[in-house]
Symmetry: D2
Subunit: 363 residues, 4 copies
Amino acid sequence: MSNSTEKNSTQEHLSKAVVYSFKNDYSEGAHPSILEAMMETNLHQQEGYGEDAYSLEAIKIMREKLQSDQADIHFVAGGTQANLIVISSILKPYESVIAADTGHINVHETGAIEATGHKINVVHSKDGKLAPKDVESVLEFHTDEHMVKPRLVYISNSTEIGTIYKKKELEELSLFCKSNNLLLFLDGARLGSALTAEENDLSLPELAKLVDVFYIGGTKNGALLGEAIIITNDEAKKDFRFHLKQKGALLAKGRLLGIQFLTLFKKNLFFHSARHANEMAERLSEGIQSLGYKFLVQSTSNQIFPILPNDIIDQLSNKYGFYVWCKIDDKTSAIRLVTSWATKEETVNSFIKDLEALSEMIE
Amino acid sequence: MSNSTEKNSTQEHLSKAVVYSFKNDYSEGAHPSILEAMMETNLHQQEGYGEDAYSLEAIKIMREKLQSDQADIHFVAGGTQANLIVISSILKPYESVIAADTGHINVHETGAIEATGHKINVVHSKDGKLAPKDVESVLEFHTDEHMVKPRLVYISNSTEIGTIYKKKELEELSLFCKSNNLLLFLDGARLGSALTAEENDLSLPELAKLVDVFYIGGTKNGALLGEAIIITNDEAKKDFRFHLKQKGALLAKGRLLGIQFLTLFKKNLFFHSARHANEMAERLSEGIQSLGYKFLVQSTSNQIFPILPNDIIDQLSNKYGFYVWCKIDDKTSAIRLVTSWATKEETVNSFIKDLEALSEMIE
Amino acid sequence: MSNSTEKNSTQEHLSKAVVYSFKNDYSEGAHPSILEAMMETNLHQQEGYGEDAYSLEAIKIMREKLQSDQADIHFVAGGTQANLIVISSILKPYESVIAADTGHINVHETGAIEATGHKINVVHSKDGKLAPKDVESVLEFHTDEHMVKPRLVYISNSTEIGTIYKKKELEELSLFCKSNNLLLFLDGARLGSALTAEENDLSLPELAKLVDVFYIGGTKNGALLGEAIIITNDEAKKDFRFHLKQKGALLAKGRLLGIQFLTLFKKNLFFHSARHANEMAERLSEGIQSLGYKFLVQSTSNQIFPILPNDIIDQLSNKYGFYVWCKIDDKTSAIRLVTSWATKEETVNSFIKDLEALSEMIE
Amino acid sequence: MSNSTEKNSTQEHLSKAVVYSFKNDYSEGAHPSILEAMMETNLHQQEGYGEDAYSLEAIKIMREKLQSDQADIHFVAGGTQANLIVISSILKPYESVIAADTGHINVHETGAIEATGHKINVVHSKDGKLAPKDVESVLEFHTDEHMVKPRLVYISNSTEIGTIYKKKELEELSLFCKSNNLLLFLDGARLGSALTAEENDLSLPELAKLVDVFYIGGTKNGALLGEAIIITNDEAKKDFRFHLKQKGALLAKGRLLGIQFLTLFKKNLFFHSARHANEMAERLSEGIQSLGYKFLVQSTSNQIFPILPNDIIDQLSNKYGFYVWCKIDDKTSAIRLVTSWATKEETVNSFIKDLEALSEMIE
């Protein structure tokens, strides 16, 4: 965008040579079922600001899936917005949030949390997850009023590097939080992928019971935009719409969010789409592994991090879009491949075939 | 929404008995052309965060319409979001914004501006507009470091009560601001309606030259969501995407906003839709006036405020949706009727006919 | 101060020609008893941050005077600091504070309250005070989540224009607040003067019961600096020292504040000093009145606002320091005269004599 | 303080058994010369808010000592206040400050910086200092608008652990900052001790040229309270008094700060006092070292960190006040001893003698 000369990220849109982009799970528009639902309902007049019939219906259905008729559900446009509203609505001015160093709020939200006045207490985490001992180390350090008071634990499922929380891990963390007067908030921008991952043993209702607030990501799982914030902790429910409005998150046409979550949840499209993304990632993983390559982390969700020779990475990038995640050594790097509801099996096969050909050439 | 027991506003969605709602200009989905464009482009992979081909193309076309190839253009989801980001990006911590007491930022944004740290200096305004003398009175009062320093003037076109700025008025205000080191920011949530109003003599390129920042509202003129922030002042352009990201306004699928503004501006749909809304409002006005009723304010934009007997208002509300704006005397009140791109001529005719019948019954 | 070329207020310190300044009640250092106490205790080592023996003793004695052994008491350096910490510690992000338009927080604190994120809902008040109906008008206007939620009522005693709350007025306001889930906060920067004013019928223990938080001003009543925040509402007490520290208000040598309040309250110096200031103001008032002049407002506290001919004001200003408060008509203006613990009877007599002489000359 | 049941730090004031507290450098009141100056000037009427004759004179003299007649100088009450005002006055909302992990702003200010909206980018530092490579690592990581933009580097001299910056180190850091469009801010709460340390080779005028803003601590060097903020960067000077006022830092009786800095600088009391504190620390160090003990860090400023057997620490604490800084192994810990202008040679000698006796007993 010639628009902003100050920005640093690559701005050119996808070059035509690129056959398919594995850069992220938001390169396409919406799942076709969502567009259909929007067409069908388009001219029905509705109340604004989230009080339309579609939002109300979506909330009803989602409560059923959550097995929680007391949960408050609010739809917002994006993940950073969800994070900053939830966190600032819960914390008092001197309270802080604990997060992994790789946490989205700590790295990739341009200081959105601090902009609402709150410190993030960072814990180094190799796998992107937080365990009770991590949280405990922060608590032990913060002993008086000359320091912030840690009050909220922020985790992501799946994490920034594709790992997921097993049921036992979440139970332990939840228990630790309850015992220490901490609240637990789960960023579910990629929750669909986490809950449908092969190694997952956690159900949505179980998750809802173990955390105080979380959100279910629509944007990265087939919606045009939209995250559903679920509040199960009663205290955190109070006056939440005031927070939404103040932060600019109450859309006049809230129907746009309601229709999408209605479509995602009334027939399990949310889970089907996520599972498809995971299956495509698994297929990619298996193919890459069978060619003898290793991975930065073990992931069964829709983000995988194969380690490839730099020469091959260069060649692949002519045909496929993806990010180089980090340098491993002088000759190899880890790349990130992300799949989505829209990734086709033939694209995956083609990628593996191309990698195979390149690998043979190099040998 | 059973979701939030604390809220006070009427929550029921439109009852089936209501034939048509004149409550606002965001009761429907989107103009059909917009949905079509979304369908057509849906599976084309694009860069995220506003760097997609559609956003870039929309910006290009809009710059042409603005006759300003140097304007920076950013798309955001809604009006409160646009207001809080623009204002907080421009002001230093001790600087304030001047607004009419009826201004949206002063009344209907849940303190969103103050939440970013800035005071609003309020001027009482009968017609919702600000004149140089209004601004001057604020400047004269603020003389030293024990008070905030007014720096930005916020106006709306059309205003909250449907009035619009004539070219001469905006020129005078712009000149006054420049002479007093003030920046001028125009909230254009209903700018389409203002620029296509019968009494309007201001063009979009002229407006762009007279203000430092403004936004063009999509939500209230046929888009699903979206406001286009236009920055012509060079200093205000700097690092604007950082502000967008920090406030949660950078949508992953920025294409959703780009496609809509592209559709609104590539063939003047924006102006056609707004003009239609105004024509429907005029027709309503004329019909109501011909029945002998008066109006709270003179408006040629898409919001009108007829004064009707309370009995008739009650009867009308069984069939039409609208807000009772204010009490006039014991027997009459002003109501607000809002038209949009989606308002049909037959609905307008039917409203006038019903009003005529009710008026005769009462006599 | 050549230091800051941007500032607008008159910067020159008092010219030698001026015999005495009635500009304010903080032109001198401290009451001699305070300096003595500082000398005596100077080399006794103490804990820092308000945990010294003097602060603890001061708190003990003040609780006795307040007849409230449950009150939390914290000492801070100044009034703006007290206001911003109390208000931001009590309110949730979307909650607002109601104040008179002349209120110090609304006019003379450079947006300090808004800088902590909160809107001030302003009510026009002729005498600087708030009555239940004023607060009610704000409540009636704020009906849903599109607006801020008023939660705290801010009043001053004495007010910016020298008026004071009678017991009945404060009781009614307190009752109204309790009935409407509002908290009541009293800015007592000049509380000493209010409670020792001739027309006052309110005691310190009564006041403490009627409000949720208030502060007792030391700076304007003989201290070098210091305001004592008194919190009687249990909820508002929680973790208050975290707020103090975060806003930079926890002084390392908190003893400086403790010693002063100990000196002010252990032998009623606080009340004696305030009464003296009021007596000097009364004497001034009577003298001025006896010369036939009127006043802008009736005040029995230490600020009076006589209306004098502009010629006489000019002449007086050669010998006495004071502010011209406002223009009354083309020939007369109101000036503000402030007395303090340090104002001497002979200075007051001399001022009246000079005014008498000038009045005769002009006739 | 029975006042705040929530706080965790030890609250009892110094027990009578304790002969002398080495806990910190703010256990006493003020240097006697300061109290004298306050007595002498006490009844001279002065302008408020830092525009008194003493503040103006102090600024004039300090500019001479700084050899910078263009420096802006402002006095505030404390260090956290200075830090939060300086940092928030310089940064735009999305900009961040880089600090060592041990930095006061990162650990001991209850999130005061984040409360003004800004992220602290933390670098691990063994000696409490920042080198160009530390800053560079932060810059390299922050590449686009999805992350904060680092803009200010915060350092302390002396640091939290008593180390100081040599001239060459500060020159290199300053140069790196200038080359990378970063501003450099030095927290000088203990600057006196740093500049008079044995190993110091940096002068006050040199320091003033190498940084953009810094402050000179009075509180920890003989003043009752007060830090002098020195701004040499022109851009950072603008409207600074507005920031001071908004954050509650403009004292009505600014004379209190002016008189103290006037006293500290008109005859070099500032440097003499600091040198005395350092000499007492050196004497302590030498004595402890001669008994065969080691230190956690090498320090020539007024904080030293000897490593002692736990048994001896227990015994010492009956007679002397100090903090146990950290555990070294099962049998030994590092303690912190802080000296000040008020520490007497005989106290130091007595401490060493007591330590010697205890050491012999244990052997």
